[in-house]
Symmetry: C2
Subunit: 214 residues, 2 copies
DNA sequence: AAAATAATGTCAATTCATTGACATTCCCTT
DNA sequence: AAGGGAATGTCAATGAATTGACATTATTTT
């Protein structure tokens, strides 16, 4: 019954831990101390221990952490021990690329369908999956217990589509549309605002150039 | 000679301000108060004023902010008043999608080339741009004053490619490869780790389900 | 032209996140 | 089996970010 809220700052770091631990595991390394992990990942050992302790003790004093065990536990925290049914809304460049590029199944994401409202795309196959017309989306979500929708549609229609998804039982939205979706707080939204990210990059480039270095 | 370092927390919020101000501008709205913006964007008015004041006062007391002026100024801060030469490394699903999908030119990013090491792609046209062999990358970066490289290649080769870019004068890397690049601090790196983002989403979905609500 | 109003700029207070320090616990060796 | 060493778990201290409060200054109205 752990019920204290864990900050998103901590959560944001978990996937990175997970990635490094996965690599260590693949290298056959069995144990690691916060000190060693600290050196590899370039964060403080204190933060590592603090982060893990949010979820209870995963280590053994005097020994360190068992890599495989820790890897599994963090995976569980992130929900990667379960499967999630996923669909992609919008079969444009980005939607198709994500369908092909992300190795969804590897982490328990079952790619169940891809939708678009452009009739010339209907039936085209992406990863052995026919592109379906948008009209079928709502019933499909309901009948196939879809958990996650990936939104790769223009921002103008994003909110309307999001609400249709919500009304049919979606749990989370991975939002690539360039708007902030206005959905109930019970629906989890993870935004990937690519242009925002690129702007941060240019800020930092310019800052560095204008900084004391030149 | 403002020289105090501005926190990345503030920078991360600037693109979002920029987006909302752009929309307000398009709607023909000329002035706005931090109070009103606060209501629209769902952040505190205090934070808005604090954020803007990092860069000097953009508003007028008793009046508010001039939308267009503020929009322009934030654009300048983000470096969007200049042009940046950009190339894409890796013409796989994601690289091609970004080339087609991102409206780079709109914000001053000049799409100058796309590279891959798969000979069967050489010469294929993406946005009127032939895919070039990887071997030409280094000289191309040098000779065309490329500022930004978009890395959409497998993680195994990411570090090696990054260093070639660095050696030929790149200023920033927009990194979609699933590794933390080990480049000099003078090179700006903006990571887009898509699977990390998706894991955060599943964490939050599961957290909500297991929370007190069910 | 002067007073009233409105909203910024800024300082202080609070909250949140990170780091440092150390006692505790467990492993490993003798 | 017992003691030494090593690294966790945790608490306290520091530092950073956010919020709240208000004096200041510009605008607008009378």
């Amino acid at each position: 019954m752990e019920n204290k809220e864990i900050s998103q700052a901590v959560i944001s770091r978990l996937p990175r831990y997970f990635r490094y631990l996965g690599e260590l595991k693949d290298e056959g390394i069995e144990r690691i101390s916060s000190q060693e992990l600290s050196a590899i990942m370039d964060v403080t050992a204190s933060q590592i221990r603090q982060d893990f302790n949010n979820f209870g003790g995963f280590g053994q004093q005097g020994y360190g952490y068992k890599v495989e065990y820790l890897y599994e536990e963090i995976g569980k925290i992130l929900g990667l021990d379960r499967t999630h049914n996923l669909i992609i809304i919008g079969a444009g460049n980005l939607g198709q690329a994500l369908a092909n590029y992300m190795n969804f199944e590897r982490r328990g994401f079952l790619f169940k369908g891809i939708f678009d409202n452009n009739p010339s795309l209907y039936g085209k196959k992406i990863r052995d999956m026919e592109i379906r017309p948008m009209e079928e989306m709502e019933s499909f979500v309901r009948e196939n217990n879809i958990d996650i929708a990936v939104l790769t549609i223009p921002k103008t229609s994003a909110d309307a589509v999001a609400w249709k998804l919500v009304d049919n039982g979606i749990k989370g939205i991975w939002n690539f549309a360039h708007v902030d979706l206005d959905v109930p707080k019970s629906i989890q939204v993870e935004n990937v605002h690519l242009s925002d990210s690129l702007m941060k990059l240019t800020y930092n480039i310019n800052r560095f150039e204008q900084g004391c270095y030149s």
